[in-house]
Symmetry: C2
């Protein structure tokens, strides 16, 4: 093994944006610049799409100013896509395109920042390169607000989204309680199959009021039981704050959103674009109780709210980016860099190597033992797990009191 493999590196970002994905990009760029082996640093524009179409930019000489703006720039500064690769055993057309591109740019180090689907892409490319005569060290770097990647204690992006959700719940409690008569506020939170982000709404209880009802997709959702729970609060003249995952399903595995005729959209990974659950539940509550009811869909806001990012989350996003480069320089390849919790109080974590194929194929869900019996809340164990991940404030550079973001020439 040639640990001093010289050549260039390519970085891609893929999947849904987060507040700190550019922190990982920053960590990779910083570590790559410090190495003697990595010569030029390239970025793939719009993830896999840019790799396939040859839409590549050079970041080697990115100015200090833009580089330092990266950690606090939300979304994905290189652009993203949700392109899915088939198995190269079935059709290697795309893989040959990638091979040619990597040869052309002498890409010896490839870092792909993303979630489950991106790890699938990364794993396929990694396996393909083991079959060809061109050494390229390939690493997945995790990011997802869904926190559902296998093997890692948690995922960069989750802590910041969770902090936004928990802060918002505290603010909404103040607002919902203001009129002195019971109101129902239903907050719809992202997370297709895993309820981590919805569960984080309950964090607000460590500092005031948490939601009264928290519904995760890990356990069946019953419309009848939901309405009964809301009714119990209203009968006691109490407001009701509800956090519900967009992906809740009934006992038969039917999405609750499928109960309505609203339009659904299917992305290129075959995932249904969710939404509209909150307004469905709102209608049901109004029909049953005539209570004042609001439904609030946190939508894109929860994944791009860089202004309230978690310092811990951002630091770890940078850490996994750096670690990927360092592991690759040691000669390793075909891994995702996970986060290992070394201690909880005081909180400490370190990077660890995880099997990319497993990360590509398994989803990490909220353990059932952390969900309250009856399925409308989470335990103290969850709160203890979660609390360290939202700690610390990030200072976003501002001009005229509005944030200033990095510009890499992709998103203009």
């Amino acid at each position: 093994m040639n640990t001093a493999l010289k050549g260039n590196c390519l970085i891609g970002q893929s999947g849904g944006p987060t507040s700190v994905i550019n922190g990982s990009l920053y960590g990779i760029i910083k570590a790559a610049r410090e190495s003697d082996a990595i010569e030029r640093i390239y970025g793939a524009c719009y993830g896999t799409q840019g790799i396939l179409s040859g839409n590549i930019i050079e970041l080697t000489d990115l100015s200090e100013e833009e580089t330092e703006l990266l950690p606090t720039t939300p979304s994905a500064a290189l652009g993203s896509s949700r392109v899915k690769l088939c198995e190269f055993g079935d059709d290697d057309t795309d893989y040959r395109t990638i091979y040619e591109l990597f040869r052309k740019y002498n890409i010896r180090y490839f870092f792909f920042i993303g979630g489950n689907d991106s790890m699938d892409t990364c794993d396929k490319i990694s396996r393909y390169f083991r079959t060809v005569d061109f050494e390229c060290r390939i690493f997945g770097v995790p990011k997802t607000i869904d926190n559902d990647l296998w093997g890692t204690d948690h995922c960069p992006g989750y802590g910041s989204a969770a902090k936004y959700v928990a802060t918002t719940m505290l603010e909404l409690y103040e607002d919902a309680a203001v009129y002195g008569y019971p109101q129902v506020v239903i907050v719809e939170i992202m997370g297709r199959n895993a309820g981590w982000l919805t569960a984080s709404a309950a964090l607000s209880r460590i500092n005031g009021h948490g939601p009264d009802l928290v519904y995760l997709p890990e356990v069946p959702f019953s419309v009848g039981e939901f309405l009964n729970s809301v009714g119990d609060h209203l009968a006691r003249d109490e407001s009701v704050l509800v956090a519900v995952s967009e992906g809740v399903m009934d006992e038969d595995g039917v999405y609750i959103t499928d109960y309505s005729a609203e339009t659904k959209y299917i992305d290129t990974f075959g995932h249904i674009q969710m939404g509209g659950l909150g307004s469905m539940l709102k209608s049901m509550v109004i029909n049953r109780f005539k209570a004042k009811t609001r439904s609030i869909e946190l939508s894109l806001l929860q994944r791009c709210a860089g202004h309230i990012a978690s310092k811990t989350d951002l630091d770890e996003a940078i850490m996994v980016g750096r670690a990927a480069v360092e592991y690759a320089l040691e000669g390793k390849s075909g891994y995702m860099v996970g986060i290992k919790r070394v201690s909880n109080d005081p909180y400490a974590s370190e990077p660890e190597l995880l099997d990319l194929a497993k990360c590509a194929n398994y989803e990490n869900k909220v353990p059932l033992e952390w969900i309250l019996p009856g399925g409308a809340g989470v335990t103290e164990e969850f709160i203890e797990y979660m609390k360290p991940l939202i700690q610390g404030e990030v200072t976003v550079p501002k001009k005229d009191s509005l944030p200033v973001y990095a510009r890499l020439g992709v998103i203009e």
Copy 2:
């Protein structure tokens, strides 16, 4: 006139919450404590409702700790209501109740923090007390995210809501641009009759990207022209970021939301509870263009986002509260304290006395000359007016990185 009128003061909060309404409460409490004339400080729980039902708490000895938490506590710490008083010439039942309450508690100073409807209530109480044998000095203290109070350069609460909106637009632009293909993102913003808050979305352009289309209720909204404008962007392969007021109407004065059969709710002031416009427009865009489209309703989030309040706004909220007490101690009564802009660069403002009756009866809308021809944007004059109002950061006291709020014993 007895400028050294001794007695107690009563403070009420009314109407919709803002991020800084408790700043005004803080200003009043601080100034009242400093005066020799004001002995006890009372708070009316849930605004007019608490005044009518005798639900009064004492704040004289509120701890230093809770007092200092007030400025950064969003919503309304005393609770609020939207109770409407009839004219006392028609029926003075409620007014006699208020008179008895004021006598019982020896209320010689009454401060009512609210928007248009609250100024109407305050004006009526003020006029009534001129007809009775009990001197009480009465002041309206402005608050509204809608910025539509007559006479004042702007209203406390607006700057912070605007800062939330502008920051959110910058974050959403990053997110919407990430996939490299055109997306339509429609953001629905509060403001029933006045477009000030929707216009503030355009502030984001001073620091990056503003919305492409901004629709205020001051000018007629045409669904056809909206779709054509969206289509023009999509034809150029560009994403479209739209900011639209919940209250836009067509040329005949019909709310666009009335085009759909969605349920509406009418509050006790006879105002329609809006909402659902964004999803209506989203459906129209999808039906016409099949483009990827999101609609995001900022809902309650925009009025309670204390975590991103404007320091200028908070300082002015405190200033008008203090000034109300000081004016009252000078013997004045029957005014609302407005904000006068003394200079724009560097920005400076001072309190001024405004006729309460006029504040009760007129609405301040966005000047038509600040709206672009065609009605889908705002001019630089608006940006210059608005920019100073969002400046400066507020540090919210936190525990475990989540905000800690004041507790007055009303909202628990």
